[in-house]
């Protein structure tokens, strides 16, 4: 016997709070992302899949992937839109005349050059680490927690912790050595 199919409203009622929580969390980092728009977009995507699933053939795991996929797509699209908006429009109160931007906190060319140099040095130091440590350190520096790193690297937490922290220590000494050489 085919499993009883939830109505779309019921399905959406169950998952909507989690979708909203996810995009709101993202939005807190970037105030220009409109959470309501994102949630609506995700809802439309789920609706399209639900409409195709008239015989209730799709499993819950499929819906799970669809929801996550829709969230990522929407975040990416909005990020692209935002990047254009930031480039095209001046900040509120920002003067159009470049001479009036002397107090602009944006880093100048020297600062940008220094940052680029340090970033390259950091990347070279990461690349010089053993592969597992390099991966753990990269994830750690992207903001992943140790349990998340453990899951991604398919190892236990102790190992993930060791890889990340030993890698960071090696990175620190490598960066200090490089500074000393200059």
């Amino acid at each position: 016997m085919a499993p009883e199919r939830l109505s779309f409203e019921e399905l959406w009622r169950r998952i909507a709070p989690h979708v909203r929580a996810a995009v709101t969390r993202h939005r807190s980092r970037d105030a220009a992302l409109a959470a309501d728009d994102l949630v609506q977009e995700v809802r439309i995507r789920i609706w399209q899949v639900y409409e195709r699933d008239r015989n209730a053939r799709f499993r819950a795991s499929y819906y799970y992937t669809v929801v996550n996929s829709a969230i990522v797509d929407c975040l990416r699209r909005h990020r692209g839109t935002l990047a254009h908006a930031v480039r095209d429009e001046p900040e509120p109160g920002e003067a159009d005349d470049p001479l009036e931007r002397v107090d602009n906190p944006e880093p100048g060319p020297d600062q940008r050059f220094d940052d680029e140099l340090r970033a390259r040095r950091l990347q070279a130091a990461i690349d010089a680490l053993p592969a597992d440590r390099a991966r753990a350190v990269s994830l750690f520096l992207q903001g992943f927690t140790v349990p998340e790193i453990a899951e991604l690297m398919n190892c236990d937490r102790d190992r993930a912790h060791n890889l990340a922290y030993r890698g960071m220590r090696a990175l620190k000494s490598s960066m200090q050595d490089n500074q000393g050489e200059e």
Binding site: R14, I15, P17, H18, V19, A21, A22, V23, R25, H26, R29, R59, A60, S61, Y63, Y64, T65, V66, V67, N68, S69, A70, I71, V72, D73, L75, R76, R79, D115, R118, A119, R120, L122, Q123, I126, A134, R135, S138, L139, F140, L141, Q142, G143, F144, E148, E151, L152, M153, N154, Y165, M168, L171, K172
Partner: protein, 161 residues
């Protein structure tokens, strides 16, 4: 310098340097990674990408934040591979084993080992490794003539580290 301080200092640098790489995996790939339903080689590539792309790392963390709630709402166990993939692997492995066994059992009579190649002396033994069952292994019925498969691990259970 404490680890969190070092992390706080290097993280913006790393994230700025890894912003907007040339190509990112499809959203569905990240979704499957969050669902635990990617193949090992795909996982490895995706994880490497997450370390090298701050945008995808952010997106993936968003999925992780929503995972438990979404899984519960859809009636799934969080972080578990969907049954379809797990059972698919098991089915493929079992099928492969059966096909292999059938191919060996129904081997044409004309086939003989080439001169110089050693063959097993037990007429009915198809696979028997050097680490096979030994006497007193608790399986008195396993006379050499009856053995179909004898795994490398059968004779020494519990000895691995």
């Amino acid at each position: 310098m404490p680890m969190n301080e070092l992390r706080g200092k290097l993280m913006p640098l790393h994230r700025r340097a890894t912003a907007a790489p040339e190509s990112c995996p499809a959203a569905e790939r990240l979704a499957r990674l969050a669902a635990g339903s990617v193949w090992p080689w795909q996982r490895s590539r995706l994880v490497r990408h997450l370390g090298e792309c701050s945008d995808c790392a952010d997106d993936y963390r968003t999925l992780l934040a929503a995972r438990d709630g979404l899984s519960a709402a859809l009636g799934l166990d969080a972080g578990k591979a969907p049954a379809s993939l797990a059972s698919g692997v098991a089915t493929a492995a079992a099928l492969g084993l059966v096909v292999l066994a059938a191919a060996l059992v129904f081997e044409p009579d004309g086939h003989r080992a080439a001169p110089g190649f050693d063959t097993h002396s037990d007429a009915d033994t198809i696979f028997a490794s050097n680490f096979g069952l030994t006497e007193g292994d608790g399986r008195p019925d396993s006379a050499p003539g009856d053995v179909l498969f004898r795994s490398d691990f059968d004779g020494s259970r519990g000895g691995g580290s």
